[in-house]
Amino acid sequence: MALAVSDLSVTYGDFVAVERASFEVAEGECVAIVGPNGNGKSSIAMAVAGLADRRGTVRLFGEPAPAGDPVWTVRRGLVLVPERRQLFPNLSVIDNIALGCYAWTRSLKAALRSDAVAHALRFFPQLSTRLDQKVGTLSGGEQQMVALARGIASRPRILIIDEPCLGLAEIVSRRLYEVLAAMNREGRTIVLIEENPARALELSHRVIRVQNGIVVDGARSPHGGGGGR
């Protein structure tokens, strides 16, 4: 299993966001976590990526992940493209993307010359003309592209992407989905967080339903592990 989550609980003060969620994702799968807004999907994503305090276990490619340590998870290949992108607005597009490489190198030269960055830019050619532009001045759709490019630069083995199409026009959303599908064909595991189930099914094999912080459906993977499409 690429990702095995069991009894995951996330609370903010006395507010229970996620309650004993368990699910698994096999390597190479493309899975969607769906559910109404405010029902815990993003909290699951943040907790799995190590960005929120949690209880329960998260196993990444078999290894148990320490809670609250995003650096550990990124180094093992789990990359999160969060809701609202969380980019660096005063840094340039290329700086933002290159920083994605921080997960595996400390050399700027190595980052800029790497396959990972070249790959990311190939997916989004419209960014190539804007490499030195400050990210804060880009439109919403372009920023989402940079966020995904940054994620690709981190060389993810499993990519969690949270509501990428929020506030974006149809044509941009389609492009993002195409890129995700291409990444999945390359063998990367994709976990898509999407509020619209119909849209989620366009891309993913399986849907995990979350309601009020509880996984109500779809937790088990039909693939024993290591299956492709």
Binding site: D14, F15, P36, N37, G38, T137, L138, S139, G140, G141, E142, L166, G167, L168, A169, E170, I171, V172, R174, E195, A198
Partner: protein, 601 residues
């Protein structure tokens, strides 16, 4: 009212009770500081105006009284009044310059004030130089030094009570609500609040209270010296404010008394005073930013509510029973604030050739459109098309490079956002910003305040807040979320936030309502409710909606505008929209059912 009386009474009793002891002089001195810290609570704590000039004004008040009394023989009470009024004038002059600068510049500039002032005072022989001025008569002279102290102390306590009364009334009035919002310039402008005036009034208030504290200091301490102006005094005042509770008047008083007591308590504490103050301040900042006052309030709350856990109030929980009510009854629609033009035949909004670029990028390119009368209008287009920029240009948040914006016949192209808001333009933001420390009702009420017609001084006597709250309640009801009126804004769901934002926008009965992606992040059912609400609103006012959800727009809008790469490429009604080839190719058609129902090919 009650707290003011309580403070005055407690002060008077304490002064009398402690007479003859060392603590009496500590208390009286603390009262002088407390008058200053109350002003700082309003200025820094409550309104986030980071000005650090209070020690300068305190010294100014003290020295004014000292000079008028010792050199010219004026009686101290008269000198006090003149000193405070004079400081008010100086405060207004300085404030008119200083409050125009952005927050951090204001902070830095005022932090530097004490330095040149202290140097000047120390070198000036007229002002007593290093040794200062002594021999000042007491506020209320008695037969002996100790009875003078007690009597002056009583006067000081009464003055403190009056200050609490005045500040309390300001904070609880409509002006107080505006002050709470004043640090969020963008929202305040969108609601038509003239923050520049409030900031100036706030600075003057802080300065006058500081001067009053200084005058009381002079009238009770006999001697004034130049370190009253210094940074050390300012630091001490800040520590008093923060430890006591910066958002609380009573907290400020408690802080002043506490720190002053500490400063004089034992030699051991005195030698290590700096360290103790530093540790206290750090502890407060870390563990309870609200200071001692907040600790007390939390304790009281915890005692009252035990065991109830709080979940965010979700609209979904309440199911379909929550439906927006119909158009407001005539008696609910009170004419709004500001210079409103009578309804005539001029079209609500006319945009001619609007253009705006950012560096090399042309965001909006010669866009002309018209919103002739109340109804629902939609603006859509792919990302980066300039929709949000266009909205900002109409609302006044961005300046035009070219073109004209005409609202009901009035050319507002050079008007600020606040001025356009007063003319009847309301807008929502994608990222809703609500004031954390006020209820939802107050957050909406702030849109109903007649900002340009009230002054802080008037607010002491009369509050417009109740009337504004009534209108806010009506707006919340109209939108269907009256039950959220007393909720803590931090606990709202996304839909709740959006509805509150909507209520805030319509509360002042605008002529033109601009909505920026109101459906983003909402579920299907929630969008349905939104569509119903918008349709209803469209019957009373002109509603312009920027949206990505084409289905939503096409189902409710009477007229649609399509923006592509900054240019207006389509204009027409919903049927034209569905049939248009341009729309189909550029916008990838409508999702699902609507496209299938449209024309083939």
């Amino acid at each position: 009212m009650a707290s003011a009386v309580g403070v005055a009474l407690a002060g008077v009793i304490a002064v009398i009770a402690l007479q003859g002891t060392y603590y009496d002089s500590v208390l009286v001195l603390a009262i002088a500081y407390a008058i200053v810290t109350i002003g700082m609570a309003v200025q820094i704590g409550y309104s986030n105006q980071l000005a650090f000039s209070q020690s300068v004004f305190m010294g100014m008040g003290a020295y004014a009284v000292a000079i008028l009394n010792t050199r010219y023989g004026w009686p101290v009470p008269l000198a006090l009044v003149v000193a405070v009024l004079g400081s008010g004038v100086v405060g207004a002059a300085v404030g008119s310059v200083v409050t125009r600068a952005p927050g951090l510049a204001l902070a830095l500039a005022t932090v530097l004030f004490p330095i040149p002032v202290t140097t000047y005072v120390t070198y000036s022989t007229y002002l007593g130089g290093y040794t200062g001025i002594g021999g000042i008569e007491p506020l209320w002279a008695g037969d002996s030094a100790s009875s003078s102290l007690i009597q002056s102390g009583i006067v000081a306590a009464l003055i403190l009570g009056l200050c609490v009364l005045a500040c309390g009334r300001i904070l609880r009035s409509g002006v107080g609500l505006e002050l709470a919002l004043s640090s969020d310039e963008r929202t305040a402008a969108a609601l038509g609040i003239l923050t520049s005036r409030r900031k100036l009034e706030l600075f003057v208030l802080g300065s006058m209270l500081a001067a009053l504290g200084g005058s009381v200091f002079a009238g009770t301490q006999v001697v004034v010296s130049s370190d009253l102006f210094s940074q050390t005094t300012e630091l001490t005042l800040l520590v008093m404010l923060f430890v006591g509770g910066r958002r609380s008047l009573i907290g400020a008083i408690v802080g002043a008394i506490g720190i002053q007591y500490l400063a004089g308590s034992t030699t051991l504490v005195n030698t290590h005073l700096l360290v103790i103050e530093g540790v206290l301040l750090t502890a407060v900042l870390l563990f309870e930013p609200g200071g001692l006052a907040q600790i007390a309030v939390n304790a009281a709350h915890a005692f009252q509510q035990r065991g109830t856990s709080q979940h965010p109030t979700a609209l979904d929980d309440r199911g379909p029973s929550v439906r927006p009510t119909g158009p407001p009854r005539p008696d609910q629609v009170v004419p709004g604030p500001g210079g409103r033009r009578p309804e005539g035949v001029a079209p609500t909004l006319v945009c001619q050739g609007l253009s705006r670029r950012f560096g090399g990028l042309v965001a909006v390119d010669a866009v002309s459109l018209e919103v002739p009368r109340p109804g629902l209008y939609g603006i859509c287009g792919p990302n980066g098309a300039g929709k949000s920029t266009l909205l900002e240009l109409i609302a006044g948040g961005l300046r035009l490079d070219a073109g004209r914006v005409v609202l009901e016949g009035q050319d507002v192209s050079h008007w600020s956002a606040a001025e356009r808001a007063q003319l009847g333009v309301a807008r929502t933001f994608q990222m809703v910003r609500l004031m954390r420390h006020r209820s939802v009702l107050d957050n909406v009420a702030v849109a109903c305040l007649p900002s340009h017609r009230t002054t802080m001084a008037r607010a002491i006597a009369r509050s417009d807040l109740e009337q504004a709250r009534e209108r806010a309640h009506a707006a919340l009801t109209r939108v269907g979320v009256a039950h959220l009126a007393h909720t803590d804004p931090g606990r709202l769901t996304l839909e709740g936030q959006r509805m509150v934002e909507m209520a805030r926008a319509i509360a002042a009965a605008p002529r033109l309502l601009l909505l920026d992606e109101p459906a983003s992040g909402l579920s299907g059912a929630q969008r349905g409710r939104l569509a119903e609400l918008l349709s209803g609103l469209g019957e009373e006012m002109a509603v312009v909606v920027v949206e990505h959800d084409l289905e939503l727009l096409a189902s409710i809008a009477s007229r649609l505008f399509v923006l592509i790469q900054g240019r207006l490429r389509f204009e027409g009604d919903a049927d034209d929209f569905r049939r248009s080839d341009l729309v189909r190719t550029e916008l990838m058609g409508l999702i699902g059912g609507a496209a299938a129902a449209g024309e083939p090919g």
